[in-house]
């Protein structure tokens, strides 16, 4: 274990084994407690330098990573760029080379282009953590969703999880599909066909056309954000219509009359893909997801840095 436990980079959940997924979740489980302490800090990554390279706007993910890094005692630098590296005139490969030259240990990258994290990982020796690349993957989101489901149900295997909404543009959906399938869940996607990617069923997921049916089928719904900034393509007639046909509403949950867990990766469009009384209601685990995000990211950073998976026994008391 150690350095080889996850490989050099965390690019996506597609390439991880079920053992590696469980290792991350188990390690995250142990790190949860750190955030509950009065002094929220362990020395696990003391002396390590991490660059948070955010080419795309992000609040929650960036802050979550930053807390994870600080609680592990790493030294961190945030580089935010509203536009792309291209608009700044510097290519991603040049950015990578410059980071490398500064002898950093890890890069957390969020970028609008699918494949950018893998691209970076192949060109620098430092560990690379994908914090969301285009429409490809958002592995730490997928992991925190897995951890939240495991907390709630005790296991992932056999669970029925429906991923609802704009699957076409969603990196969260892809990471969820890989992670859930590998750990033995049944996965369905539900949304207008214009927002489902071609050949999605070939990934081993069921396609459920109507939201009521998905609610009836599922133990948990992962309600995706309708990416308003990506809606210029006219994939749906209107937000109002979307809410009427695909919105996860109180009425729909009541009609199903069952216990169901509601997740959302945030930020929410209240009244579009999810209604407020659902988001804030008893079915929602949206805030526990956010809490788990820090623990999962601590686990990922720690394991990539070569940390011992049995952290609590060996180093937790420091």
């Amino acid at each position: 274990m150690g350095a080889a436990a996850l490989g050099k980079d965390l690019i996506g959940l597609e390439t991880l084994s079920p053992q590696q997924l469980r290792l991350i979740l188990d390690t995250a489980e142990r790190f949860k407690e750190v955030s509950e302490r009065p002094i929220k800090k362990v020395p696990a990554l003391r002396g390590k330098t991490i660059v948070n390279l955010f080419f795309e706007a992000s609040t929650r993910t960036r802050i979550s990573f930053e807390f994870a890094e600080k609680r592990l005692s790493a030294d961190t630098v945030n580089v935010a760029s509203s536009g792309s590296s291209v608009s700044k005139g510097e290519t991603l490969v040049d950015t990578a080379r410059n980071l490398e030259a500064m002898r950093i240990d890890m890069v957390v990258i969020r970028h609008q282009a699918s494949g950018s994290a893998e691209f970076l990982g192949r060109r620098i020796r430092s560990n690379v953590v994908n914090a969301g690349d285009g429409k490809h993957e958002h592995p730490t989101q997928g992991l925190l969703d897995l951890l939240t489901l495991r907390d709630r149900f005790g296991k992932i295997e056999g669970l029925k999880v429906a991923i609802c909404g704009d699957v076409l543009h969603s990196r969260v959906a892809r990471s969820n599909i890989w992670g859930l399938k590998k750990l033995g869940a049944e996965v369905a996607v539900c949304g207008p066909a214009s927002l489902l990617p071609r050949d999605i069923a070939a990934l081993g997921v069921e396609v459920i056309p109507r939201i009521d049916e998905a609610i009836r089928w599922a133990d948990a719904l992962n309600v995706l954000r309708l990416q308003l900034e990506r809606m210029t393509g006219g994939f749906i007639p209107s937000l109002r219509e979307y809410n009427r046909v695909f919105g996860v509403t109180r009425e729909r949950l009541d009609r199903a009359g069952k216990d169901i867990v509601i997740m959302h990766p945030g930020p929410m469009n209240r009244g579009v893909e999810i209604d407020s009384d659902v988001a804030d209601g008893p079915h929602s685990v949206i805030l526990p997801q956010v809490t788990n995000g820090v623990a999962v990211r601590m686990a990922v950073l720690y394991l990539l840095a070569g940390g011992n998976p049995d952290w609590q026994q060996h180093g937790g008391g420091e």
Binding site: T91, L92, F119
Partner: protein
């Protein structure tokens, strides 16, 4: 005047006359002087031993991008013409998407004069269909053709206006000039980076559906029927396109089509790992498409193999997949890929391949060459279809290196290329 050349003892394949056998070929005064057994050339002629090799009319590529004027850091007419010669090509047709585009007689004349200075493969410029390739106003075909253009195309961009395409096809009939179209229904393809399918879904890249090409192919065929004009369909990539062309040919329409070596060799799986050297437009498609394209070449539905040789600087490809430019080099790997992928597996016999790479291209665009008939131009390639070699991009004559075939073992390459009776490439001296 150059010395006469006697090419001795090769397997002489002339797809134009359907001849195939051991013979000598004698070239004098820039012409094929004689083809036959035991030819003795005049004293002092250059003798080339072609035993075990194939002697054939030089290959002709109807679709290359030579980047000059405007993008000379990627390729020039001279480097492109040299790359062509090294690939066994004696003539290439240069697409007009340069900067400025080849939409006026000055630009056409410039390309021709650069080609003459280079003195390698012949370069025939293609003029634009529309002024500035803007898709709005017809270019002055008469002037372009008068200056030496041999066809018109807005390649790189589709002609979206059906009215403009109709007018182009009608007006081109005045000159008997083919109109070559890049088939891509933009509203379906826009923003796409690769073929729409399972690989794009997994990689999270926006796909370009096969329908984007097929809708445009269908429209062009219908307009060809309406006008009686000659439509030439560039770089066909889908099974559906092949079916549409087959039906059009059955109806006797003036439709011709080309396919690139990469589209009959690779599938969208080549994009795995965000390999930007597998990014092209049209994109690499699926196994069923590759099969259909090979079948279409075999039965003549697709007339010719054309490379769509598209040089790009290495650092332009060294970036995010979405931002990388489309296209790959083709001239120096085309014959090897065709032998390896089509001849060796028994899909197409070598003489038929040479027909699709030499004789048929000459017919489609009405160019000299493509035959070893006596009196024809002395544009000849000596090919070694048995040679096994490894693609080494660093050794390309092209200025660029963008190929997904680096490191690949191929069968078949050019040993010697002769244009106008003059040796322009000799592997022995390479």
């Amino acid at each position: 005047m150059t010395r006469p050349i006697l090419i001795r003892g090769g397997r002489v394949i002339d797809p134009a006359r359907r001849t195939d056998g051991i013979a000598d070929v004698y070239l004098a005064e820039g012409r094929i002087a004689s083809v036959g057994l035991n030819i003795t050339g005049e004293d002092g002629c250059e003798v080339i031993d072609a035993k075990g090799k194939v002697v054939t009319p030089g290959l002709i590529d109807l679709h290359v991008h030579l980047r000059e004027p405007g993008f000379e850091d990627l390729e020039t007419v001279a480097t492109g013409a040299m790359a062509a010669a090294a690939g066994g090509f004696t003539a290439v047709c240069a697409m007009p998407n340069t900067d400025p585009p080849l939409d006026n007689q000055g630009a056409i004349g410039f390309v021709i004069s650069q080609a003459q200075k280079a003195g390698k493969a012949r370069v025939y410029p293609i003029g634009t269909i529309s002024v500035g390739q803007k898709g709005e106003k017809l270019s002055e075909f008469g002037e372009l053709l008068g200056a030496g253009a041999i066809a018109v195309s807005d390649d790189g961009k589709p002609v979206m206006s059906s009215h403009l395409m109709r007018t182009a096809l009608e007006y081109a009939k005045t000159f008997g000039c083919p109109v070559a179209d890049h088939c891509e229904e933009i509203t379906l393809a826009e923003g796409g980076a690769m073929h729409e399918g399972i690989v794009a879904t997994r990689l999270g890249l926006k796909g370009i559906p096969a329908a984007a090409e097929e809708i445009h192919v269908a429209r062009d065929i219908i307009l060809s029927e309406l006008t009686g004009g000659h439509i030439h369909l560039c770089h066909m990539s889908t099974r559906g396109s092949a079916e549409l062309i087959r039906r059009a040919k059955d109806k006797g329409l003036r439709v011709t089509a080309e396919v690139t070596p990469h589209h009959f060799t690779l599938t969208h799986a080549a994009c795995e790992g965000y390999n930007t050297n597998a990014k092209m437009n049209p994109p690499l498609r699926e196994e069923a498409d590759v099969e259909a394209l090979r079948e279409a070449l075999k039965d003549g539905t697709i007339d010719v193999i054309a490379t769509d040789h598209a040089p790009h600087h290495y650092d332009a490809k060294e970036r995010e997949f979405d931002d990388a430019p489309n296209g790959i080099l083709g001239l120096e790997t085309a014959f090897g890929l065709a032998v390896t992928e089509l001849v060796r597996p028994g899909i197409i016999a070598l003489p038929d391949l040479l027909y699709r790479m030499s004789t048929r291209p000459a017919q489609v665009f009405g160019l000299p060459g493509g035959t070893l008939a006596v009196g024809g131009p002395a544009d000849v390639a000596v090919l070694d279809p048995e040679a096994e070699w490894t693609v080494e991009p660093s050794r390309f004559f092209s200025k660029s290196r963008n190929t997904p075939f680096g490191g690949r073992r191929l069968l078949g390459r050019a040993d010697l290329t002769i244009v106008r009776g003059r040796i322009v490439y000799d592997r022995a001296g390479d």
